[in-house]
């Protein structure tokens, strides 16, 4: 099955710093989502981005589907950005109404004041 690898596994930043999180995947995808999981476990949708580039405030994401990777950019980080960032994908093989997401292990981000 498809493999999803995220890097780095852990990241510590000072408030105000910028960072780039990476997600590599081993097969063609028709769905790629970035999530932020807060300390209470809630998964917050950041981006639905199977291809292309999107921006939302201090966050932006780029997926290069042909090269099988996606990047999440966090600029001017804040303490509230702390948590785990997950990349999840669904493959072309799961097309139709099967929306099974395959997840990476996440990047644990700590932003210090």
């Amino acid at each position: 099955g498809i493999q999803v690898e995220q890097s780095p596994p852990d990241l510590i930043l000072q408030e105000g710093a910028n960072s780039t999180l990476r997600c590599n995947f081993s097969d063609s995808v028709n769905n790629l989502q970035w999530f932020h999981q807060n300390p209470w476990g809630q998964l917050i949708n950041l981006f639905y981005i199977p291809s292309g580039t999107k921006q939302n405030g201090r966050l932006s994401a780029t997926t290069v589907a042909t090269e099988r990777y996606s990047l999440l950019y966090i600029s001017s980080s804040q303490t509230t950005d702390s948590g785990v960032y997950f990349c999840a994908v669904a493959t072309i093989a799961n097309a139709g109404n099967n929306r099974k997401l395959i997840w990476g292990l996440g990047t644990s981000l700590a932003v210090n004041p």
């Binding site: 999803v4 476990g41 809630q42 998964l43 997950f86 929306r99 099974k100 997840w103 292990l105």
Partner: protein, 111 residues
């Protein structure tokens, strides 16, 4: 509009018991998926239902079952609980495209 809701929030059960977890999707969403997340891991797919039919099943034992009701809400049932079933159980709903939206989860502890 209300997001995905799940109940209960927390649950403590004893080994061998059974549990029922509930999920209500976002209004208008016809697909519901269930995931299990153990500490330090990404979520693992358990089931997906669309229009009340099972459309996908992950690598979980038959002790796990689910169903979807005519109003598109869903239940996840786990029988003969084991200590290893302790996890955060997440429900997600989606509409016609592939983006999934998650509920707050049910944290199950098996003692």
């Amino acid at each position: 509009d209300a997001g995905v809701t799940q109940s209960p929030t927390h649950l403590i059960k004893t080994r061998g018991q059974h549990v029922t977890l509930r999920c209500s999707p976002i209004s208008g969403h016809k697909s519901v998926s269930w995931y299990q997340q153990v500490l330090g891991q990404g979520p693992q797919f358990i089931f997906q239902y669309y229009e009340k039919e099972e459309r996908g099943r992950g690598n979980f034992p038959d002790r796990f079952s689910a169903r979807q009701f005519p109003n598109y809400s869903s239940e996840l049932n786990v029988n003969a609980l084991l200590l290893g079933d302790s996890a955060l159980y997440l429900c997600a709903s989606s509409f016609s495209h592939y983006e999934q939206y998650f509920g707050p989860g049910t944290r199950l502890t098996v003692t």
